[in-house]
Symmetry: C2
Subunit: 420 residues, 2 copies
Amino acid sequence: MITDVRVHDVRFPTSREKDGSDAINLGDYSATYVEIESDSGLVGTGLTFTNGRGNEITCAAVRALAIHVVGREPEEVRVRELTQDPQLRWLGPEKGVIAMASGALINALWDLRARAAGKPMWRYLAELPVDDLIDSVDFGHLSDAITPGEAREILEKGLEGYADRLALLESAGFPAYTTSVGWLGYPDDKVRDLTRQAVADGWRAVKMKVGGPLEDDVRRAAIIRAELPPGALLMMDANQVWDVDQAIAAMGRLAGFDPYWIEEPTHADDVLGHARVAQAVAPVKVATGEAAANRVIFKQLMQAGAIGVCQVDSCRVAGVNEVLAILLLAAKFGVPVCPHAGGVGLCEYVQHLAIFDYLRVGRSLDGRMIEYVDHLHEHFTDPVTVVGGRYRLPSKPGYSVEMRPESIAEFRFPDGPAWR
Amino acid sequence: MITDVRVHDVRFPTSREKDGSDAINLGDYSATYVEIESDSGLVGTGLTFTNGRGNEITCAAVRALAIHVVGREPEEVRVRELTQDPQLRWLGPEKGVIAMASGALINALWDLRARAAGKPMWRYLAELPVDDLIDSVDFGHLSDAITPGEAREILEKGLEGYADRLALLESAGFPAYTTSVGWLGYPDDKVRDLTRQAVADGWRAVKMKVGGPLEDDVRRAAIIRAELPPGALLMMDANQVWDVDQAIAAMGRLAGFDPYWIEEPTHADDVLGHARVAQAVAPVKVATGEAAANRVIFKQLMQAGAIGVCQVDSCRVAGVNEVLAILLLAAKFGVPVCPHAGGVGLCEYVQHLAIFDYLRVGRSLDGRMIEYVDHLHEHFTDPVTVVGGRYRLPSKPGYSVEMRPESIAEFRFPDGPAWR
């Protein structure tokens, strides 16, 4: 039984170095960090990433939602109790602060379950019976795109060839790409050096930020492309700054650098806008999802043919259960999933999701890559291991977002030494 | 200059009486109530409505945003400073708690400006120069639907015939409809009595809640329709409970009662779903907007032909400026605006918006009605006046959401006597 929920406001002063800077995000990377205590003696940990000031708001939302968790068994909590709480849903519904806080709590519940089973999260999920997986998904407002029956079919197919896929991952790891070469705030020389280093380290897919003055984007794209070996992928990320027609025009200029995808070319809520961009920039793919609030947005992106790469976030949506719905939608519509990572703990989280997706849902590595950003991993007790541009399978029990006690103490806001 | 921002957590125990109950909302009506003090001695007031528990989260968001306001002149604050704050926007972006908190603050700024001018909000807005109105709108991500030039044209046309329209409103008031007859939690007899009373009071347009068991909806629709005189409008509101095909099927059953519109037939984020429902249920109109987060959602609803009635909310979106963008979109696409009201102070707010829309933007009363719910008006110093099913023009300076000090003291959470 769950006996207590604790929440910590942990912030890292990343904005001082312009790490993580892009067209719109300039904040201090922060975590709303949740610990769920149980009478088994195990502690489940979850977090939601936020970009700076305002973490106290997400912490308040976790506290408001905690009543649905305390006094319960972790398996018994229904996700709709949190996402459809009649006294709280007005604050979303199913979006923003309240979805993110739900995500932190729900992920901590899953972490606790995986720890109790002694398995890493990906394995715990991948070995769950089909019925349990189906039962975890809120199919509400999805039936015009996917039914529980269709989802069951996908998950049952996921049992075929499972051992082979697992063996492949165990030997070769999961493909990844790096976003660390081209943050918008970095000077040209740093971008060139970082790209050269990334290639030397084995990376064959890198992402740059665009959406500043177009001539700067063009110059930086040329620098990066010149450093990449033939066949390497260059992705571009506009972080929503462009209007629809502006995105189409900008990609006309940038197409010469053979981008593999353009990420968030316009406002994250603009399904129809993404669809227009997708049509105009093909064969360049449109990637989006890190700011998509819930399964209903993803449903529409897929129905409209607006999304070529599904970048679901592990804790912007309401946690593992909502991610499951989105993975199933992606499989139904044949859209590859390349989860959003970076931030605080997102790489640690999403490796489990991508591995589970390959093993049980999507069943292909074609076009699948996990984002990798080399910031802040040192604060976690089970950080990701990335070798030669590939994630190694995590093996410790749980969802890998447990933070080191000394990091929490150091960066706790406002009383940690880093902030005093 | 603004010298201080104060925020109060005010909650009314409405859930005890099932006032305001519908298919998904069962909370205690609450206000995140903002007072902006200025060195002129004037106080600007704004609020955002929430449905119960969790008001402390919106209050925290107001506090986080207040740094953009304190020390500034009210006219000088740019709305993007709040909605695009690089350290806070991750929490939305432009949706949920952070948009609602922005709305409370931005509305209080406008209230302060209108008070300084000695005008009710509708008149203050309606008498602003075109340039100032255009300058207030964030056209970001709208250019594929409306340009500043097109908006200017609409607003300039709004000067023609202005005096006639104003004279009409002054003599006849603004058309309204009532939602007080058919809350989901009310027994049949109460529904019948309330409808009869509403007709006797002059109402010719009433709204009922649907989305419970369909047979109950059918029975209640029959009761209400039987009480209405010929030609009276009956609207239905499903508060998002249906899946898309379920909505279409349910409206097939309910069409016999000649509904004028079906409101929120499915998930508020589901633009494509609303478009399918709109096609299927025509000539019944689809009404939506009270849970639409921002101008980009409204843009798509209009582009997709998914919305027949625009029910913008005064404080779910980021305040007056965002509402201006939505009114302009609605005028461009020819969609009548019937703002969402009820809750706490929403009737007080939206009367100003509807009047301004008629005077300067939409320029027609065809299909225009302001929602009216007869709850909680006694807590305001300048409550709405509704006579014979029509709103009378408010005449006191400001935006009409100033609460009585004794109400704030009584219902302040958790220390007010009502909650002790």
